[in-house]
């Protein structure tokens, strides 16, 4: 047995118990601005963790830099506050080295999609079993208010007084384009929904990507207000449910229908269309996932919230383990003497 396995096996056991949310609060003071959407995300994660039945010493939260990346400090699990943009790479190494751990990444739109964009796309395509929560507030908060790669075109910020010349990313499309096997979106202001999505992300085998619309009330207040305020949200959000038709609206009187490849809003009231005309959401449908993700770029359409895509695909970490197991089964566990003396050697007497 390898030393690490031995150490962990012999480590003094801690009495097991059923966790509650409070068990996941660390002793550190939470230092986000009052009213920040991050509080809700933290609370929802703390609520979901007890349901996962994972001993808390097997949970690791890795982050980069930014407001979102303070996340690990506030959770009483193992936590790793890394450097800007590199959380996905650090988590990849950790998960590949230690597949027994449940590894999570907390990141933001700047950390995950700007400086860390490269690592983000590559963890997605590899399908390493890491859970990524990306807090998208469409602004740089920690550096006090510059536009981010998800800020809208023309946004006026400190670094773009004449309007941001950048066209933004759609994180869902980035993840899908990078071959992510689990792509979802939720909102800081919809705790129940966020909990469900976090739970599904945890259960998914592979890289899970969850974009969470998060309000930065200091530098970008109200960025998602049409999606979170009572009066407007029902008409601006369509909640995706697997195998269910895409219905939305305060009165549940509208739906999404495909015209060719283009989703359009139809009324279910005027008798022209019925539920059977609507898109039936299918989490496993690759083509549909791109169409749904693209909806966020079209102002006339409601924003899709929920699980856009979830499919099973081989896990990088499993493949690595399998290759090692196979090599050991075939060649026996490595023998250093043999390695050093393989091939041509000669002996001097």
């Amino acid at each position: 047995m390898k030393l690490v396995d031995k150490i962990l096996k012999d480590a003094p056991a801690i009495p097991t118990k059923k966790y509650i949310a409070k068990d996941f609060q660390s002793d550190q003071d939470v230092r986000w601005c009052p009213g920040c959407g991050d509080y809700s995300i933290l609370a929802q994660v703390q609520r979901v963790l007890p349901e996962l039945n994972i001993p808390k010493h097997n949970l690791v939260f890795v982050s980069g830099i930014g407001c979102s990346s303070r996340f690990p400090y506030y959770l009483d699990t193992y936590g790793f506050h890394g450097i800007h943009g590199r959380a996905a790479a650090i988590a990849s190494g950790l998960k590949v080295a230690r597949p027994d751990l449940s590894v999570w990444v907390a990141t933001g739109d700047g950390d995950g999609l700007s400086i860390g964009g490269n690592h983000f796309i590559h963890i997605c395509r590899r399908n390493i079993n890491v859970k990524i929560l990306l807090f998208n507030n469409q602004i740089y908060g920690l550096t006090k208010g510059q536009y981010s790669p998800t800020s809208e075109f023309g946004k006026i910020t400190k670094s773009s007084p004449y309007g941001a010349p950048d066209h933004p990313f759609n994180p869902l499309l980035v993840a899908l384009g990078a071959e992510a096997s689990f792509v979802a979106r939720s909102l800081d202001r919809d705790p129940k929904h966020l909990q469900t999505i976090i739970k599904r992300a945890a259960e998914h085998q592979g890289t899970s990507f969850v974009e969470i619309y998060q309000n930065c009330n200091v530098f970008n207040d109200g960025a998602f207000s049409t999606l979170t305020e009572k009066e407007t949200k029902d008409d601006n959000i369509v909640y995706l449910e697997h195998n269910k038709p895409m219905i939305f609206g305060k009165e549940k009187d509208k739906g999404i229908k495909l015209e060719g490849f283009t989703p359009t809003v139809v009324s279910l009231k005027d008798g022209k269309y019925s539920v059977s005309d609507l898109i039936i959401h299918n989490e496993k449908d690759t083509m549909l996932s791109f169409i749904l993700a693209r909806m966020s770029n079209i102002p006339e359409l409601p924003q899709p919230i929920g699980i856009i895509y979830a499919v099973a695909r081989p896990l990088y970490d499993d493949v690595v383990t399998e290759q090692i197991d196979k090599a050991i089964a075939k060649q026996g566990i490595g023998d250093l003497e043999k390695l050093l003396k393989h091939g041509e050697t000669w002996t001097i007497k």
Partner: protein, 609 residues
């Protein structure tokens, strides 16, 4: 007719041709065969950065030099005795390194009008008398090669490709080496294409027979086995030795090895080699970039593995920020920098020692990292092993510097008995009582390795400054200064665990030549030569460049003058002067090439005249 067999003490051969001519392969085959015969040897591959530079051009020339003998061999040789030139460009580029009266074996077929023009020859040097001072053997290598495989029905292009084996066969005959080991190698290498096995073996043997039977060569030579220490030997390159040293450390420490790496010349072979050995539970992660290479390795170390990242200069630059993180996290990590010519992309396939200051000081703020330097290809094994040992036992990132010269160079290696390797003791914390992530071992100041999965040790670490002992985030002014000092002290104390440095030669004298890393062979050869001539000169070679061993200052005081030869503009010289406040004489070369012993000898003469 039996030909005369003459005995020689040492020989240097240079194989040169187009980068597509297979000269590296020819050289490495000659090397293995020579090693098997028990000669001591040293090699230097010298190839262009382009994978397939345009055929026949001067910049497309690829060379491989081997120096072997019955005596101890420390360098690939300043000059060569034999030059095998497959085309005019190869002749032109390498002729300057051939000794007067040396042997040229040229492929006459390669000296056609087109190639002569490309190499800038107006007349064929094989015929115009310009090579009079050499012994020229112009052989129709290409034609003889295609003739040998005529009945195999191969295309001309394929058939001609075997011509390097003809040259190899001739050299085997000329230096009385058996063909068998190369025959076995061909059988294995080309096992999927039996027609190539047949062709290459036939051509190899044809080359051998050609030497034996034709009138061209009047004599051949024997170089007897060297008097090497008893034991089992193999030939090893620096990159292989690094890989095996890392695996050995993994076996000894019982920890899994994790390599996070992005391919880069001249370090990629370490990744290739480690990727083979899955049955040692080695995990190789070919990362998306250099930063992910080191970041993933840090993640793995955090999880209790030996995190390693391998790279060269440009990659080192990219890893800088993450190295600072590793300093802050105080996790074991090994960063291998196979130095090449720089700055920027520089000379990717050429050697240099100019990353020393980058390794020692090249990070933001106070971020001390121990730096080791391997001195010879085989020495890379011990250096890599030791880098892991220090990283684990002192809970710190460690940088191992090698260079393109020793990474690609090969030499015989006395394989150490596995039992003789030192233990590596990782100290994992499992007891939650009284645990704080930044409490320290009294002697080493190492913090505990508390890995995820250990019940009750849940804690948070990161790049923000830590409060002493608790590891909580702290912006306190005095605490910051304290932590900066503790991190420095921890690295300084490593000197307490290093063996004392030893000088080759007298302990006092007129001159001490101080080198580090891959210049070992050239300096050793030069100093030994001068000592034979009665000069008062000694050699100190540093394997530990940061921190220095404790007795370095005392040693330096014992000599009237200090000479520091380096393949940079004086980086070790700067460190020695800064630390020991002594004047040093510098000898610097930045040509992408190793020192020739003669260059150091001349400098010694100049100083001691």
């Amino acid at each position: 007719m039996t030909k005369e067999l003459k005995k020689l003490d040492e020989v240097t051969i240079r194989f040169a041709g187009d980068s597509g001519d297979g000269m590296q392969l020819t050289g490495s085959q000659f090397t293995s065969t020579t090693a098997l015969l028990g000669n001591d040897l040293s090699t230097l591959p010298d190839y262009p950065a382009e994978i397939r530079a345009p055929a026949g051009t001067l910049f497309g020339v690829s060379g491989f030099q081997i120096h072997f003998g019955k005596k101890e061999i420390s360098t690939p040789g300043d000059t060569c005795d034999v030059l095998v030139a497959m085309n005019p460009a190869a002749l032109k580029v390498n002729l300057h390194s051939l000794i007067d009266g040396g042997v040229i074996v040229a492929n006459r077929d390669g000296f056609n009008d087109k190639n002569l023009k490309l190499a800038g020859y107006e007349k064929n040097p094989l015929d115009d008398g310009s090579l009079e001072k050499y012994q020229v053997h112009a052989v129709d290598i290409t034609k003889l090669t295609t003739n040998a495989v005529l009945d195999l029905g191969l295309s001309t292009k394929i058939a001609e490709r075997s011509k390097n084996f003809f040259a190899l066969g001739m050299m085997y005959w000329m230096y009385t080496r058996p063909v068998e080991s190369t025959v076995r190698w061909i059988q294995e290498k080309f096992s999927k294409t039996p027609e190539l096995v047949e062709a290459n073996i036939r051509v190899l043997k044809a080359g051998y027979a050609f030497g034996e039977t034709t009138e061209i060569f009047h004599a051949h030579y024997e170089v007897e086995a060297a008097a090497l220490k008893p034991g089992t030997y193999r030939s090893v390159t620096g990159n292989e030795a690094v890989a095996w040293g890392l695996i050995a450390a993994s076996v000894k420490s019982e920890l899994d090895l994790f390599l996070g790496s992005y391919p880069i010349t001249p370090a990629s072979e370490i990744l290739h080699e480690l990727a083979k050995h899955k049955n040692f539970r080695v995990k190789t992660f070919q990362a998306e970039d250099e930063i992910a290479g080191i970041s993933s390795a840090i993640g793995a170390s955090y999880g209790g593995a030996i995190g390693v990242t391998t790279t060269s200069g440009p990659g080192m630059a990219l890893k800088t920020e993450a190295m600072g993180l590793a300093v802050m996290l105080e996790l074991p990590l090994v960063i291998v920098d196979v130095q090449r010519g720089g700055p920027s992309t520089g000379l990717p396939t050429k050697t240099e020692q100019a990353d020393l200051l980058q390794a020692v000081h090249g990070r933001n703020s106070e971020a001390p990292i121990p730096v080791l330097a391997a001195c010879t290809p085989a020495g890379c094994f011990d250096a890599a092993f030791e880098a892991v040992k220090l990283a684990i036992e002192h809970m710190t990132p460690v940088i191992l510097l090698t260079d393109g010269y020793i990474a690609n160079g090969a030499e015989p290696w006395l394989i150490p008995p596995v039992k003789s390797l030192p233990d590596i003791s990782a100290k994992f914390r499992t007891d939650p009582n009284g645990f704080f992530p930044y409490m320290r071992d009294e002697k080493t100041l190492a913090r505990p390795w508390a890995i995820p999965g250990t019940p009750g040790l849940e804690h948070r670490i990161g790049g923000l400054e830590k409060e002493n002992i608790t590891g909580n985030v702290s912006y306190d002014a005095e605490n910051h200064e304290l932590m900066v000092k503790i991190r420095q002290e921890k690295v300084d104390r490593i000197a307490n665990y290093l063996p004392l440095a030893k000088v080759d030669g007298d302990e006092k004298g007129d001159l001490l030549v101080v080198g580090w890393g891959g210049t070992y062979g050239a300096i050793k050869t030069a100093v030994e030569e001068k000592r034979r001539q009665g000069k008062s000169v000694s050699h100190l070679h540093l394997k530990y460049v940061y921190p220095f061993q404790k007795n370095i200052g005392d040693i330096l005081k014992n000599y009237k003058k200090i000479l520091v030869p380096e393949l940079n503009l004086g980086q070790l010289a700067l460190l020695l002067q800064a630390k020991y406040l002594i004047p040093v004489i510098k000898l610097n070369k930045v040509q992408g090439l190793p020192f020739r012993a003669i260059e150091i000898e001349q400098k010694i003469d100049e100083i001691l005249k």
